[in-house]
């Protein structure tokens, strides 16, 4: 695991006994600007590294774009079209998607890179595994879809469209309006943020658990138990492969749901 984790493990190993990974993993000590609102710890640095990586990759691609693409450009175009067409346009339609395209593309590639740091040696920590980033992402989408809905239909029209289901006998609205309100204004953003955050956090904890256990069985456990290190390592390896999928999947789901929510807010049909 990361340098700090490795340090923890060594300390733990030195102390003897096995310490399961804890939430403290996600709140390492501040290393820069301590005490200020710009306080930086390891997670923040990892996020910034991932941000620089995605920006450099996209900018290099955009900079070298040619009419007849090479391999790198083709691959990037494939990825970009997966987002622009596969996610945004297929959900919202070409005309509506155009306006929100920068946000959706930024969300997809951003989340992908902030997620993937958890699989990169010496970083080993998802930028999205600490709640701040999922909250900021969700807030951006949340504000966007409400703002887009209000801009499209006016405040009254938007609220009416969002909360009142058509073709329902009126007494049902006593029940349905609060449910719709909670769905649109509370549940949707909450699940959007928690889904990403929890997936990343738990995946990381699983990886740490598997590999620290492997380390424990190999180094500290009595000879009879060293066999278990094979099982825990295999488990860790499996989780690692699974995380490769989840890293992409969560970026996809987040971008897709963003499109779905925006589309629901600006479309006439319920």
């Amino acid at each position: 695991m990361g340098t700090l984790n490795a340090a923890n493990t060594t300390i733990q190993a030195a102390e003897g006994g096995f310490h399961a990974p804890s939430m403290a993993e996600f709140f390492p000590e501040a290393v820069l600007f301590q005490g200020s609102p710009f306080e930086m710890n390891r997670v923040m640095i990892i996020r910034i590294l991932a941000t620089v990586a995605v920006v450099v990759l996209l900018a290099v691609w955009a900079n070298r774009m040619k009419l007849i693409p090479g391999r790198f450009q083709s691959a990037m175009e494939l990825a970009m079209e997966f987002v622009t067409v596969g996610i945004a346009e297929d959900t919202m339609g070409k005309a509506k998607a155009k306006k929100f395209m920068p946000l959706i593309v930024a969300i997809f590639f951003g989340i992908l890179f902030w997620n993937v740091t958890k699989l990169i040696p010496f970083l080993n920590m998802p930028g999205t595994g600490v709640i701040g980033l999922p909250i900021v992402l969700t807030l951006t989408v949340y504000v966007t879809y409400h703002w887009a809905g209000i801009a499209e239909k006016g405040l009254g029209g938007y609220l009416k469209d969002s909360l009142i289901l058509p073709g329902v006998p009126w007494p049902m609205h006593i029940l349905l309006i609060p449910i719709e309100f909670i769905t649109k204004f509370v549940t949707q953003p909450f699940t959007l943020a928690i889904r990403l955050f929890a997936n990343m956090m738990v995946g990381h904890l699983l990886l740490v658990l598997c590999f620290t256990a492997t380390s424990f069985f190999l180094v500290d456990a009595s000879n009879g138990f060293q066999f278990f290190s094979i099982i825990t390592f295999a488990g860790g390896f499996f989780v690692f492969i699974l995380e490769m999928l989840i890293v992409v999947l969560q970026a996809y789901i987040f971008a897709l749901l963003s499109c779905v929510y925006i589309n629901a807010a600006i479309s006439d049909d319920h």
């Binding site: 000590e29 909250i135 900021v136």
Partner: protein, 183 residues
């Protein structure tokens, strides 16, 4: 499960710390701005250019096709015109040929008539000449013969001429009377 180091207030993982929010927002903003201002416009521009190039190619091909069609139609029209012209010329030539043949025939006819007439005239003239020479020779011979027979000189021109003339007139009256009779 005691963490090795002391963690600040945000032990609840669902409550974000302020720096967490700030750095998240900074990161998202940077990615968003780069995508919005630089990456997507470049991407869209490339796609548009590519589509335009393909579109241009299709249009060019259509134009060339239309030109080829027009050229073909023109060529076919020219060919048809040429054929019609050829047929017309052939008909004209045939007509002209027939005309020429008729002219030639007529000309040959007159020519042959003329030759025949000329030949007849010539024959007549020769006959006349022969007649004249015959007359004189026969006269001379006859008188010579007669004078030998009679012993008398008939060389007296005046007289001998009278005798010959009379003789020939008899011959003529005989020869002209006989065919009339015979006819």
């Amino acid at each position: 499960m005691t963490p090795v180091h002391i963690v600040a207030a945000s032990e609840n993982p669902l409550l974000p710390a302020l720096p967490d929010i700030i750095w998240s927002a900074v990161c998202l903003l940077i990615v968003f701005l780069v995508v919005w201002k630089y990456v997507l416009p470049a991407f869209n521009k490339t796609l548009d250019e590519r589509a335009e190039r393909i579109q241009g190619g299709i249009e060019k091909a259509e134009k060339v096709q239309a030109e080829a069609d027009q050229a073909l139609a023109e060529y076919q029209k020219q060919l048809a015109d040429g054929r019609a012209e050829a047929a017309r010329l052939r008909a004209e030539a045939q007509e002209e040929g027939a005309q020429i043949i008729a002219d030639m025939k007529a000309q040959a006819h007159t020519e042959s008539d003329r030759i025949v007439a000329q030949a007849q005239t010539q024959i007549e003239a020769e006959r006349q000449a022969a007649m004249v020479s015959l007359r004189s020779e026969v006269g001379t011979l006859a008188t010579d013969l007669a004078s030998r027979i009679v012993g008398e000189s008939l060389t007296d021109d005046q007289r001998s001429a009278n005798v010959v003339d009379r003789f020939i007139s008899d011959l003529e009256s005989q020869s002209s009377a006989q065919p009339v009779k015979g006819a």
